[in-house]
């Protein structure tokens, strides 16, 4: 079990460019979560999928951010027209989402996005 895999580990973009971040959840996990971590805001929830369907995107900025889960083995977070304030570590997590201990979230190592 390789755990949650996130690529790339680091990404540097220029202001106004697009950034796509990738996440491969643990095999068999039905829930995928995206979080963002900054020094100022800490760990912030962005969005959540269950069985590939979007369930809660209440943390996603309304403009420029979108997330998809086209199949059970990967999810993407896309940021259009990146701005310096988008710089953060973006973390993906997955769980069995069956209730009880099966709610335990397992995190990937994150993608550090730097917008110049």
């Amino acid at each position: 079990n390789a755990g949650v895999i996130q690529t790339p580990r680091h990404k540097v973009t220029g202001k106004g460019q697009e950034a796509t971040l990738w996440c491969e959840p643990i095999s068999g996990h039905s829930a995928v979560f995206w979080y963002r971590q900054t020094i100022v805001q800490g760990l912030e929830f962005l969005t959540y999928f269950r069985n590939q369907a979007p369930i809660d995107d209440s943390g996603m900025p309304k403009e420029r951010f979108s997330a998809q889960m086209p199949n059970q083995s990967h999810s993407t977070l896309k940021i259009q027209s990146t701005q310096p304030q988008d710089s953060a570590v973006y973390l993906c997590a997955s769980s069995l989402d069956l209730g009880g201990c099966a709610e335990t979230l397992y995190f990937g190592s994150g993608t550090r996005l730097t917008v110049l």
């Binding site: 979560f33 929830f45 369930i55 943390g59 335990t104 979230l105 995190f107 994150g110």
Partner: protein, 110 residues
């Protein structure tokens, strides 16, 4: 929205001593999860609790089963490798997302 207040924000411990971290919740929570973030940034799950206590080696966590408004993480006989940032995160009743505390930066010194 749900709020998670974690304390202390930073803590220095001498090797071999004990201490406790605490998280208070502004509303009743369904479950809590404790993590340690290492120097590479990886969030490692330490405990998941829906009630009661769990213990793993020198770590022990408790979740208030009555009011469900706080959780603690006890560290016994602190070792240098315990250094890192500890986060608690909790789920409210209406959804499955985890709300994180601001973290405790723990430094264990010889």
């Amino acid at each position: 929205g749900d709020q998670v207040e974690q304390s202390p924000s930073a803590l220095s411990l001498h090797e071999g001593t004990d201490s406790a971290l605490r998280c208070n919740f502004t509303t009743t929570m369904r479950s809590v999860q404790w993590f340690r973030q290492n120097s590479r940034g990886s969030l490692i799950s330490l405990f998941y609790l829906a009630s009661g206590t769990k213990e793993n080696g020198r770590l022990k966590s408790a979740f208030d089963s009555k009011e469900r408004r706080y959780s603690t993480l006890h560290i016994r006989d602190a070792q240098l490798e315990d250094s890192g940032t500890y986060f608690c995160a909790a789920r409210g009743g209406g959804n499955n997302k985890l709300t994180f505390g601001q973290g405790t930066v723990l430094s264990v010194i010889p």
